[in-house]
Subunit: 653 residues, 2 copies
Amino acid sequence: MTTELADVAPHLLQKERASATFDVQSCIDVIRGPRDVQARRKVLLDLIMKDPVLSDRKMIYRNHTQSYEKALEKSHAYVTFLKTNGITDPIEKELVYRSLGEPLPIDVHRSMFIPTLETQTDDEQRAMWLSKANAFEILGAYAQTELGHGSNVQGIETTAHYDPKTQEFILHSPTITSRKWWPGGLGKTANHCILVARLFLHGKDHGIQNFLVPIRDPKTHATLPGVTLGDIGPKIGFHAVDNGYCAVNHVRIPRRNMLMRFAKVEPDGSFVKPPSDKLVYFTMVKVRVLVVLLCGQYLGQAVTIGTRFSAARLQGTSGKGKPENQVLDYENQQLSLFPYIGLSYACYFTHQAIDQLYHHVVAQFDGEMDLEQLHMLAQLHASASGLKALLTEEVGNGMEAIRRACGGHGYSASSNLPYLFSVFIGACTFEGTKDVLVQQHAAFLLKCLRSPVPVTKKAGLDLLGFLRADAHSKCDATTPQQLREPQVLLQAFQVRALKLLLRADAAKPSLHHLTQASLAHAESIVLSCFYQGVMAVSDPKLQAVLLELWQLYGLWRIQANLGEFRLDDYLSSSQGAWSQDQLLELLRVVRPNAVALVDGFGFSDFELNSAIGRYDGDIYRALIERTTHEPLNDTDVTPGYHKWLKPLLTSKL
Amino acid sequence: MTTELADVAPHLLQKERASATFDVQSCIDVIRGPRDVQARRKVLLDLIMKDPVLSDRKMIYRNHTQSYEKALEKSHAYVTFLKTNGITDPIEKELVYRSLGEPLPIDVHRSMFIPTLETQTDDEQRAMWLSKANAFEILGAYAQTELGHGSNVQGIETTAHYDPKTQEFILHSPTITSRKWWPGGLGKTANHCILVARLFLHGKDHGIQNFLVPIRDPKTHATLPGVTLGDIGPKIGFHAVDNGYCAVNHVRIPRRNMLMRFAKVEPDGSFVKPPSDKLVYFTMVKVRVLVVLLCGQYLGQAVTIGTRFSAARLQGTSGKGKPENQVLDYENQQLSLFPYIGLSYACYFTHQAIDQLYHHVVAQFDGEMDLEQLHMLAQLHASASGLKALLTEEVGNGMEAIRRACGGHGYSASSNLPYLFSVFIGACTFEGTKDVLVQQHAAFLLKCLRSPVPVTKKAGLDLLGFLRADAHSKCDATTPQQLREPQVLLQAFQVRALKLLLRADAAKPSLHHLTQASLAHAESIVLSCFYQGVMAVSDPKLQAVLLELWQLYGLWRIQANLGEFRLDDYLSSSQGAWSQDQLLELLRVVRPNAVALVDGFGFSDFELNSAIGRYDGDIYRALIERTTHEPLNDTDVTPGYHKWLKPLLTSKL
């Protein structure tokens, strides 16, 4: 009789779940929030899965053009879905949108165009445009980045000259590189855009302002005169979005199409300066805090797939005649997965803490800020920048490491790991690349180092506590086990961050030193947010397991940056070696709960869309089923055979 | 007057080239070999660029199905091209094939099917099949990997039972997981395959053997009875290849279709054991040595694109009112690029050294081997495994790091960085994943540690020299500059490798410790091959620059693994800090030659296929030109507008 490995795989996952020492639902409650929210989420997901258009998960078979066309259908179906099911709550709308599995051409309309109208228009403008935008009567893009300038917004070349005679702005792209480049939806979808341009009044430069510009005919959708539009072509991900370009050739718009909540231009062309605009900070912080959540979600999905596959997969033996091992039992596989289970939880807990702090600061804001509030906002802004830089980088690397650990099945699109990576990895670039963010972050930390600020411990989170650490201390662990102790780990990360900041301060300005200081500080925030999150868990069995995972995460980061932790021998050579032993030991400790820990993220099979990451472990039948969707398999003999292959095979060349 | 940044970009690259301190052609000679070979390469490339089919570079617009169909046309054109231009030399054929920019459906036929027929058939079989295969009368796949087994070849489930009555083998896929899975060309293209199956004679297991199996009708190309074939669907790369699946249901083939150069089955079903087969080692070594070259070529292309872009791109200022900086002047950008220029050269030089050693061993082989020769082959095999594991991982990470360093323009397919990555990254998986290779490598090193072998320094390369290092020594650099000295750097890597091997030996068997030992040894080989390559350069100006690059590479690896180099305080804390200072210092030293160093790889614009990596630096016009190829731009108003977007915009939902 033959053993069917295909049948063994599901049993292996059942065995894993039976060996878990905690209740998975209790973990899902921690990550996903109250049960009624979870139930509602399930209802909505079920509705989406029943929708003939929105349930589509065949993204991997389409090129950019096909993806875009399909996504127009999905955009239509999404709006219809909201109406049909009476969904008006912004959180529920967001939930439905995120569940579609790919960003749509209306992505930037939702996430940037409408919010900009909400925050940057005066009351009259708001009344004029916002309801139209919400009803999709005007569909917008946010056109800031140019071919020549991304990170350096001050370098933007597009001009807006005011003509007092006609009370119009004349918008112009004076150079090749001033062409707007990248904005989502700008190429083919949007009929308006918010154009970011440099304002000139009577020839005088008044800096960067926002203008609402019609770009396509509302009746025919044809590009308007003076405007050049198109799609910039394929990218790593976002295949369904028409990231576009736009050039304007002396295009005139009415004076009141400048967004005037803050700066204003009077009819005679005189300029009214904006009051200092703290709201810009709020928006940037909000987006970066959201990215931290996305980090948890994408890495969580990837490591769910990788861990389940590794548990269901048998490969290789420990000696001749012995049964095959679960791949999850190999130490290297554990090292490729468990730290990333840890990092996923770290992202979730960090998001919870930072989001709470953000709302705390927002709640206090009533248009004015005292110095302490202002400093709190600045701390939050700087830290969120550093966190975004650190976590997008680490999560991107992690998703790829997990994919490689799944071998050939990870290289196949059926695993969905390549697709998840392609969608996520844009986060390393958009909303500030790492190099720009770490500089902002480190510059702020240096300022705090040089002129210390009063301790402000708001919402349970002390972002600058590391400044009070002792830079001359040494790690006082006298046994390997002591390296797991929370105070030992937390202190090690704080001292490291302080040491690197001091070095960045002492040295000639070195971007690399600033970068190390930023990343070290961000990592110490992550470690303490993760720890506080674990401490707040009420279920003791779950808490115990998460604490082990936290220790594993901390020791892994020490290993990955051992040179920094050994600076001035803060860790001795022996302590460094102990930290590795403890990390390897913790792999074995976490092993029995690995599958339960990824189950604890609560992703559905529909969301994961992975043949090898299925909850039930029936991975081999799923892989075979997937091949029926490949268009090449619609015929036995491929259409190209007669034209190209037959002449080759019959030597008719 | 407006400054056209688009015109500044080319000037910046000219400026870079003017500041180089060495002759680029002299560098190309080192990498590409004799001038006549270079000239012939140029002739062939020019011919390909003129070919209406083979000059195609629009891979990024196609999905898997479209890529495959196009690739059949290219396969036809490739064979026609060889005939038309009278190209018969295997090296030239390979050169043409590699210049096509994507693997074709005939890839495995060329690289695995024919070579297997060459090495594994007896003379009669060879006469029967090889010329047919060379003439494409039979088109083959190499079907080893199964759905359930990849790395563990001994776990293969497909069976071949011999029937002495009819003198046939009965081939069968007894389980779901025994289905062949992954072989290139197996899905739609091949009409034969070499099927790897477990041989049973009179019910007795005789292990894994190779069988030549017809799978498609030679006249109609229809799948033959008893065979199930198909494509496994999209992957990260290799879109143009029909990686396939194959199940066989009691398919009968003649006895003589087993490949019988080594093992044989007599008509009565008796088994003739193979003599110990050293050729298998040769094949594996050959492929892994080739992968080292591919590492240099792919990383070289990526870093050429990244470096030229960073030189041509201006972004940000060092203070208000100051002109914008070249991105290449930022320290972080240099850290994302220069070490990978170094690693690319390291791969080229390592390939040259290992390839030379391989040919040295092959030349000595006359069917028999003495113990020393055998040990040399084993050394080569183990080292090539470790090098493949190390370099594919590092190069994959490097390509992605370079891409991220190019910001949005790196995320766009127009840079070609995503495409290059997608083609290369399969190398981390095929021909042995990292975890399997490092184990083989480390196991061999442990054996050598336990029973030392006589020094065999062949072809100038002492692969096991690190075993004679002093594990108890400390780095004796007393000034920061001394850390750059060749003997100091080379010794540091050897001591580290030995220390890690000793730890792997002392500890309970830990896969992680074995991995560290393998990678450290491989890295010390790379460092010394790179060094020897530089020492052999005859042009003193070029040699001086390459030596700086070598120092930069070495110090970068120390920084990346500082914890390992500080084990037992081999490097003190001060020396660790010095190594970072020296690395940053070397960035400034290498900076003026950065563009010349990537020019020195000698890639043509056609090969790079990158809008932002052009030799002439005219990147912005090239990016705009690229958008004309995007099918979405064929019409102003997208076809989906009328059906999906209009109802949305006119509130007709």
